[in-house]
Amino acid sequence: MGTQRGKNKGFENLVDGQVLPQPAYQGEFTEGEIVQYYNPESMTWAERIYLPYVLAGLGLTAKVFLRNMVTWFVWLTYWVRGKGAEAKRGATTIYYPHEMRPDFSPVNRGKHILTMRDNDDPQCVACYMCATACPAFCIHIVAGEHPDPAIEKYPVRFDIEIDKCIFCGYCEEACPVDAIRLTTDVHLVDYKRERMVYDREYLLTWKPTYVEEEHVYPGDRPRKS
């Protein structure tokens, strides 16, 4: 049995013919026996004196430093000509939050918004479909009677616990009136846990502007006039 396992490093004590260390409750210890429970030492001589590897690490750091420095200098020549965005930057890090990555996917799911009617009322009719579909139970709605009988029902409160949200997009999918959408904004940070509950007024930030061309999707056939 043990031939395959014996080849693995650190399992040298498990080769054929050797007696495996027994747990204490199964047998009695004989006097003076040393039971080895940990893996045997497997470092090489060069590893054990550390110095070559310390030097190798310093070399790697120096290499990256020099490479970045050269790249920064090249970038600087572009920057003085006002073309900083065209050249490669010296480091891959960015200075968050003053600088943010522009390369999020346009379909990335982030912070929610509630869409508005023309008079800035929420489009939402408080049907609780999003709260029902939500697998994280992070949407809390209180419905109320709208003064306009044509609308009838609207959310008096609409709270999303954004720190509980898993950004699955089910709320967006369940909404029958296109009232909730997920934006690409992922910068959802705060110092207070209480402020991670986004209320109706904070979510009501966007009014869709309907442009005729926007409704024509690439796959659509041209309409017959």
Binding site: C127, A143, G144, E145, K153
Partner: protein
């Protein structure tokens, strides 16, 4: 073959029903639910929605064969006949039903997102089962009055209405108040409160229950909760001695609404508005805390107070100076165990209190009774009566308290104030109050133990006609509130009396088995009281039950 029953086949299953039964009822007997909107077992047949359309073939004895149906017929209108053949889901029937659904949905505004009925709407369910096709209508839908108040409790939306006439038949045939009617013709027909009258009878909320769509909704439940978030627990209404069987719809911590549950012979399908509002009274209840007051000191835990009360009861064994008054809100099991305990201790001054009177409603032919307490009959039948030899009834106990003869008084349950003046209780040395409601006496009684309410415990109540109904725990009780039966078990242990039952379940079993107890018959639902008026005569003296 008898002449008063007929045998027919429903989808190949043979079923025998009494003569005059409608095919839809016979199908239900055979375990087949024929879809329907306007049919309701508690209302006369109307047959206008055409949803229960089925292939019904009668037997022609001369030709000795089943006559092929020329067209499908409505199963709620046709009487079951001998040897009849009914097919409820052939392809033709399904096609006909899909067409009926299409007609019903022509002018229906699909406003399910804002409709309170969504989730328990028959139109939604049957659309998914029988239609599932998009609307072919290209014209604008017909607009009708929306948000029309029908009295203070009901809102009518004419656009959602499918004109099944269940509500109008309810007011015509059940309450016999004739408030609602269908006016206008064709696609302008709407339900209206007739003659400018007010829709304000005591049973208006039932029309919202029986409305198969969201045309009639309750103002009390309006936008409160979507129905799929509700948990349903079987319960019993304690608003009067009718004991309407109910379903308590709650979310675990508070009751959202109370709906009637079908129970033949008790409330059938209906329930009054006041009973539905009982949950508000329950939510506003001031709850007592376990307290023991001895020699000016106050304190104690529930278990230590229970032991103290039990030992006190044992002290007054065979004594003439102890009396027990029980509220008619006690459950049968609790009453049975309490009367057993007091019987063993030979405490004979025991009676049922008048209980609640503030919610009293005028008795009517439909449901209301004049006693706004649920379980007077069950408590009396379970043995909460004065001892036949020397026991004092409530009036005599009152006189004895006035005379200063009572030293120990146990008040079980709320609403004793209609019998006893709280100031009168200062003449009693030891008052023990076991209740679910904090009142004037809770601040002065020697011992107070908090009880669970009807919504927080299990038990049975028996109504004034002897029908027993079981209520179940729906809400989580507040911290410290004790289950009445468990408390009595502990009292038995503290008083040194061996309890005849190990648990509530055991007690319920024993109640049925105990041959000496009248409750046996009550639980079986066969008990009839010898004289109903005697039951509600709150007079003193032993009562023969």
């Amino acid at each position: 073959m008898t002449t008063d029953s007929v045998t027919l086949t429903i989808d190949g299953n043979s079923v025998t029903v009494p003569k005059g039964t409608k095919v839809i009822d016979a199908a239900r007997e055979a375990g087949k639910n024929i879809p329907h909107f306007c049919y309701h077992p508690g209302l006369p047949v109307d047959g206008n929605c055409r949803m229960c359309i089925s292939d019904i073939r009668t037997w022609n004895p001369r030709a000795e064969k089943h006559m092929p149906a020329r067209r499908p017929a409505v199963a709620c209108w046709v009487d079951a006949e001998e040897n009849m053949q009914v097919f409820t889901d052939t392809p033709e029937v399904k096609k006909a039903r899909a067409s009926v659904m299409e007609f019903l949905l022509i002018n229906h505004p699909i406003d399910c997102p804002i409709c309170d009925k969504a989730g328990e709407c028959m139109l939604q369910d049957y659309y998914m089962l029988h239609d599932r096709a998009p609307s072919k209508l290209r014209e604008e839908k017909v607009h009708k009055p929306r948000l029309v108040p029908f009295g203070k409790r009901i809102v009518y939306n004419g656009e959602r209405c499918i004109l099944c006439s269940r509500c109008t038949r309810f007011t015509t045939h059940v309450t016999k108040t004739h408030e609602l009617g269908i006016v206008n013709r064709g696609d302008r027909a709407i339900v209206e409160v007739l003659e400018g009258g007010d829709f304000a009878n005591a049973y208006t909320d039932n029309v919202a229950d029986i409305c198969p769509v969201g045309a009639l909704t309750k103002t009390d439940f309006r936008f409160k909760k979507r129905v799929w978030f509700l948990k349903h627990t079987d319960s019993v209404c304690g608003g009067c001695s009718r004991n309407c069987n109910t379903v308590v719809d709650h979310d675990g911590s508070e009751v959202i609404r109370i709906m009637p549950r079908e129970r033949a012979g008790v409330n059938d399908w209906w329930m009054c508005n006041e009973g539905r509002d009982l949950y508000k009274e329950h939510a506003a209840l001031a709850r007592p805390a376990a307290t023991l007051r001895i020699d000016g000191l106050e304190g104690g835990t529930a278990s230590s107070i229970t032991t103290w009360v039990g030992e006190k009861l044992a002290e007054y064994k065979k004594s003439d100076a102890a009396a027990v008054l029980v509220s008619p809100w006690i459950s049968n099991e609790e009453a049975w165990l309490l009367s057993f305990l007091l019987g063993k201790l030979k405490i004979g001054h025991l009676d049922v209190m008048t209980g609640r009177t503030e919610g009293a409603l005028p008795a009517d032919d439909l449901l209301h009774t004049d006693d706004p307490n649920p379980n007077r009959a069950g408590a009396i039948a379970a043995g909460i009566v004065p001892d036949k030899k020397a026991g004092k009834g409530i009036d005599e106990i009152k006189a004895a308290i006035e005379a200063g003869e009572i030293e120990f008084l146990l008040l079980w349950g709320p609403h004793f104030g209609n019998d006893l003046d709280p100031e009168l209780l200062s003449k009693v040395a030891t008052v023990v109050q076991i209740t679910d409601e904090h009142d004037a006496v809770s601040d002065a009684a020697a011992a107070v133990l908090p009880l669970r309410t009807w919504a927080e415990r299990d038990g049975t109540w028996t109504n004034f006609e002897g029908h027993t109904s079981r209520f179940r725990r729906s809400l989580r009780p507040p911290a410290g509130a004790l289950d009445g039966f468990d408390l009595l078990m502990q009292l038995c242990a503290a008083a040194g009396v061996k309890s005849p039952a190990k648990s509530l379940r055991d007690a319920r079993k024993k109640l049925k088995q105990d041959p000496d107890s009248d409750v046996r018959a009550i639980v079986d639902g066969k008990f009839t009281f010898p004289e109903q008026s005697a039951l509600y005569r709150h007079t003193s003296g032993a009562r023969e039950v």
